[in-house]
């Protein structure tokens, strides 16, 4: 399995290089100048030119590209063109916020989605199934940012139970968790809707299989048939969906971080884009790419754990 993991990681290298190159080219094609963005419209043109020189933006683009890639190979993500702070430090600061948000959302999405989906399948075309399908359809139809605003209005403004914005103090688990609940629920509930619908159809499909009928014929308890035989067989496609959705969660975390005014990679990326902070933007994209590669790998490896027939 180690060889499999290593080969997958090796194959990821060209993907990284491709992403870096595409982002590098795109941000430079866009009109807008980091020096002008940093200094504002009131700065003298001479000062803008001086800053461009200091930031190395006056160098030929191939040289800038070579310098950036060489830095990456050395593990140096460069310095923010705007604040001058090392990008690595900014990523290290922001990464935990995005990780905790997506992980908790993943847990909420899975733990809420799978049971609802199983229940819907077991009560097919009856009232609980209909309610579950309508609710999950609603969840799929609502954009995450809109759901976030609704949750803030209800739980933070009207009921005043949870904070509306910010990430709290990471050194205080209770405070950080209180600030995390609404944004994670925003992402998690949307995911739960998708997981529930997918689980329902997968479990329904599995319930019709011969081995389930055999299990019932053996006289096993319905609970055992559902959990040990049906759900377990249905897990592989569900895990595939959860893996794919995790990648989507990372994307949705960008808007959620903005709505909840949380720090994180999404906020960092949007800020870098608006300020034309090329170095930060490129580096954040590298981290996002790493997420996608690693999540795909983890999903593939999870198949082996769930289904003993799968070997690497």
């Amino acid at each position: 399995m180690i060889r499999y993991v290593l080969s997958r990681l090796l194959f990821a290298l060209p993907i990284f290089l491709g992403v870096i190159t595409i982002v590098f080219v795109i941000v430079r094609i866009l009109p807008g100048d980091p020096a002008q963005a940093a200094l504002g419209d009131y700065a003298s043109p001479d000062a803008v030119a001086a800053l461009r020189q200091r930031l190395g933006l006056d160098r030929p683009i191939p040289l800038q590209y070579g310098g950036y890639v060489a830095g990456l190979v050395r593990g140096d993500l460069g310095k923010s063109l705007i604040t001058g702070a090392p990008v690595r430090d900014e990523i290290v600061h922001n990464l935990p916020y995005t990780l905790q948000l997506t992980l908790l959302a993943l847990i909420i999405g899975t733990l809420a989605g799978v049971p609802v989906g199983v229940m819907n399948a077991l009560t097919r075309n009856r009232l609980p199934d209909s309610i579950g399908r309508v609710v999950s359809l609603f969840g799929l139809s609502v954009p995450a940012y809109y759901l976030g605003i609704l949750l803030i209005l209800l739980f933070a403004i009207e009921l005043r139970l949870l904070p509306a914005v910010g990430a709290g103090d990471l050194t205080s688990p209770g405070d950080a968790l209180r600030h995390l609940i609404l944004p994670a629920a925003t992402l998690g509930l949307v995911m739960a809707a998708a997981v529930a619908r997918f689980t329902r159809s997968t479990v329904l499909n599995t319930l019709g299989q011969d081995f389930v009928r055999t299990a019932r014929a053996k006289g096993l308890q319905p609970r055992v048939v559902t959990i040990r035989h049906t759900l377990r067989a249905a897990l592989i496609p569900i895990v595939s969906l959860a893996g794919l959705w995790s990648i989507g969660l990372i994307g949705d975390s960008v808007t959620t971080e903005i709505v909840f005014a949380r720090p994180g990679l999404g906020s960092m990326m949007v800020g870098a884009m608006l300020q034309r902070d090329y170095t930060s933007l490129q580096s954040v994209m590298v981290v996002y790419t790493a997420f996608v590669v690693l999540i795909n790998l983890a999903t593939d490896l999870a198949y082996g754990f769930i289904d003993p027939r799968i070997r690497y």
Binding site: L30, P31, G32, D33, Q36, A37, A38, L39, G40, D41, Y42, A43, S44, P45, D46, A47, A50, R54, K79, I82, T83, G84, A85, D89, E90, H93, N94, L104, I107, L111, I149, I152, L153, I157, R160, L161, L162, P163, A164, V165, G166, P173, G174, D175, L177, R178, I258, V259, F260, A261, R262, P263, S267, M268, G271, L274, Q275, F305, I306, P308
Partner: protein, 551 residues
């Protein structure tokens, strides 16, 4: 049982067990949350001001580069100038690090301004430089930095100046060309290049380091910077005007206006940067225990006509456009609560700005008159109108103005095709002469800066000697601008500026539209410590007198 088999069994079960444990663990973890009730609101005993500012992050805390609203406000709390604008009133000056106003003298044909400094003013302590007393050496270093294009965004304003430390508490500023107090004071005031920085701190941190390690003499000291999140400021116990009443400022970077609003309404924030929109103001004014502050300095919205574009090269066409446009329609975009119509190229309250009455008396207000507009177009040989391709920023204030202009000009057959781009792209494109008509929203602190950057031929975009923001490619008032700069008699200087504005309006190089004030909201427990008339730092002004009371 083989090791391989044992590992396989163990691992698969472990995986499934872990998944189950996560399900059980979540609720258990949730039990560690403190009891719900009021914890999401700022504690009543919390004497820290929680303030939500626009923009997603710090740009720079180096005051000589600070340009964005979020940065100007931040450096205002940390740094001082030799003089300062009276808190809450940007039209009045008072001494700051200097003990008194200087009086100019002429030495060897050059104008010299001599400042006596306060004694005992201490720099904030930092992790690299302990607190030490400010001297003239720091002030000279700071002004030299402000005048250096490699270390300051505002260097052009300090051209022809030399700075001398005459003794530890005396600074002399020698000007090659004399300036009136109208033009000199803003350069040594707590604004842009006038902020005084610590020599030792800048040398210790370097130019990149001071962007995130500001060391000043002001009421608040940097405690911690959390990128994309907040700047935590502590009170300066040694502040020369006395220890601040607040225990600190929690300065949050929150790009999304709705999030700021929710933070304020939810009680997590005490004050926020609001929206320049009458509907928003009305909505927030209706919320109990909240107050909306509307104050200057605002930004002027002005249309500039590029005279190098064939269709706009004739004065009659530009005047026809002016007669077509309706200021009331433009003002309706932001609302009367937030803005006002303007008739002069210089913003209201700027020293030297023409008043509405003066403009109307000269018949230069271009009151809407579609018939006259059509006849002027016919006179220019374009009776059927023409079409123009323009870009607009995605920022609402720009987009709505362009769209309104598009609708208004269609009435006389001038068709505008609009393309929306992001804001940095907009700024880049209009500096490449992309737009025949440029809408620009800006504030400039003096008439000289405004006229020079927008109407002097040297500032013409692309083609000027020092390309800046002369989008009109206007060149008819260079002489007046240059003469007014060196005029030391304030009254004569003002007359020249007014004459220049009359010429601009006669030639219709630009059409002044509206003036939008700053809009902030706060809980009623916040007292900034001064009335709010106008603040050049573009925020209400948080200083040693600011207080917050909750409950």
């Amino acid at each position: 049982m083989s090791a391989r088999k044992a590992t396989k069994k163990f691992t698969r079960r472990r995986f499934l067990t872990t998944a189950l444990a996560a399900g059980i663990g979540g609720p258990v973890l949730a039990r560690t949350i403190p009891p719900f009730g009021t914890p999401s609101r700022a504690d009543a005993a919390d004497n820290i001001l929680h303030f939500g500012q626009s923009e997603g992050d710090l740009g720079t805390a180096d005051p000589h580069y600070a340009a964005g609203t979020q940065d100007r406000a931040l450096v205002d709390m940390i740094f001082n100038g030799l003089l300062r604008f009276k808190p809450g009133d940007g039209s009045a000056f008072e001494p700051d690090l200097a003990v008194d106003f200087p009086k100019p003298t002429v030495v060897a044909g050059k104008q010299v301004w001599t400042f006596k400094l306060r004694k005992g003013v201490m720099w904030h302590p930092s992790d690299k430089v302990p607190a030490y007393e400010m001297t003239s050496e720091d002030v000279v270093y700071s002004l030299q930095k402000a005048a250096d294009k490699a270390r300051s965004a505002y260097s052009a304003l300090y051209t022809g100046m030399t700075f001398q430390a005459l003794d530890p508490t005396t600074v002399g500023i020698v000007l090659d060309s004399p300036l009136s107090p109208n033009l000199f004071y803003p350069l040594v005031t707590n604004y842009a290049g006038g902020f005084i920085v610590s020599k030792r701190a800048v040398e210790a941190y370097g130019l990149d380091g001071v962007k995130t390690h500001p060391v000043g003499t002001g009421p608040f000291i940097l405690r911690r910077y959390s990128p994309k999140e907040r700047m935590e400021l502590a009170p300066n116990p040694q502040y020369f005007r006395g220890r601040p009443k607040l225990e600190g400022v929690d300065y949050r970077y929150m790009a999304d206006g709705f999030s700021r609003e929710l933070g304020l309404r939810g009680g997590q924030l005490d004050g926020i940067n609001g929206q320049q929109d009458e509907a928003w103001v009305g909505k927030m004014q209706a919320v109990p225990k909240l107050k909306v502050d509307i104050f200057g300095v605002g930004e002027s919205t002005v249309l500039y006509f590029n005279q190098t574009v064939r269709q706009l090269s004739r004065k009659e066409v530009r005047q026809a456009i002016a007669y077509t446009l309706n200021r009331d329609e433009f003002l309706g975009l932001i609302g009367k609560k937030v803005g006002q119509k303007i008739y002069a190229p210089l913003a209201p309250f700027t020293i030297g700005a023409l008043t509405e009455n003066e403009v109307v008396a000269k018949g230069l207000d271009y009151k809407t008159n579609l018939e006259k507009a059509k006849s002027l177009l016919a006179e220019a040989g374009v009776a059927g109108g023409f079409s123009l391709d323009l870009v607009t920023s995605e920022l609402n204030i720009y987009k709505v103005h362009y769209e309104s202009m598009q609708a208004q000009l269609a009435k006389v057959g001038i068709q505008i095709r609009l393309r929306v781009v992001d804001h940095p792209s907009y700024h880049a494109l209009i500096r490449k002469d992309t737009n025949p008509i440029v809408i620009y929203v800006a504030f400039r602190p003096t008439a000289e800066i405004y006229l020079r950057s927008f109407y002097h031929s040297a500032s013409a975009v692309v083609s000027g000697a020092h390309p800046d923001t002369n989008f009109a490619h206007y060149s008819a008032i260079d002489d007046l601008i240059d003469k007014a700069r060196v005029e030391t008699v304030a009254a004569k200087q003002v007359e020249m500026w007014k004459e220049a504005q009359v010429k601009i309006l006669q030639d219709m190089a630009a059409y002044p539209v509206s003036y939008a004030n700053q809009v902030y909201a706060r809980s009623t427990g916040v007292d900034y410590g001064h009335p709010l008339k106008s603040v050049l730092a573009l925020y209400p002004g948080i200083d040693e007198t600011t207080r917050v009371q909750r409950g």
